[in-house]
């Protein structure tokens, strides 16, 4: 039973465009929402993360938007570059006594030059 649903599975964007990846979660007891970026042949690396007390967090060209009522959070990559081509994973940290990081299945992003 997947508690974090990520879409789309793959995405092609032109250089300079905006890449948008969405995640939805099914349980309100999540309290930390990170995004990881994975290049081919490498392990994932933390890109940006947000907590539910804020609705948006921006780091450079990367922005997380968080909608608590809709149980959704998204990653926006502004001015997408070919070097952004990678697989992106969202995740959500389940709170309470049984804390665990629940992962989305990933989005493969290709930015065409």
């Amino acid at each position: 039973q997947q508690q974090v649903k990520q879409s789309p599975q793959s995405l092609i964007v032109q250089k300079g465009g905006i890449s948008i990846i969405n995640c939805a979660y099914e349980n309100t007891a999540f309290d930390y929402f990170p995004w990881y970026q994975q290049f081919p042949g490498k392990g994932p690396a933390l890109l940006i993360a947000i907590r539910p007390d804020v609705s948006e967090k921006k780091e450079g060209r990367f922005t997380i938007s968080f909608n608590k009522s809709a149980k959704q959070f998204s990653l926006h990559i502004m001015d997408s570059q070919p070097g952004d081509s990678a697989t992106y994973f969202c995740a959500a940290l389940r709170g309470g006594n049984n804390r665990k990081l629940i992962w989305g299945l990933g989005t493969s992003l290709a930015v065409n030059p």
Binding site: K42, G43, L46, F89, K100, L105, G106
Partner: protein, 112 residues
Amino acid sequence: DVKVTQSSRYLVKRTGEKVFLECVQDMDHENMFWYRQDPGLGLRLIYFSYDVKMKEKGDIPEGYSVSREKKERFSLILESASTNQTSMYLCASSLQLWEKLFFGSGTQLSVL
């Protein structure tokens, strides 16, 4: 920068063999994790450890065991490798459990 080093980039083993995957981190992190990554299935947690000699099962522990005798080293053991354990194995460490995981580059294991 935190460095998480996995001993092998590629590994080929025979079914029934005992396989050891080694992982070392250099930042004195309390927490270490083993994931496997398969196309279309994302990252699945096998085991994690929050202290030396402490371990917890993840979502798919069957067929695997782990060892953490020293803080910096976390080993994944396949007691009797099977073809369905062919996968990319990723080790990670973190200072705070579940937050800001640092991953190694992975070991691509093929079981023939």
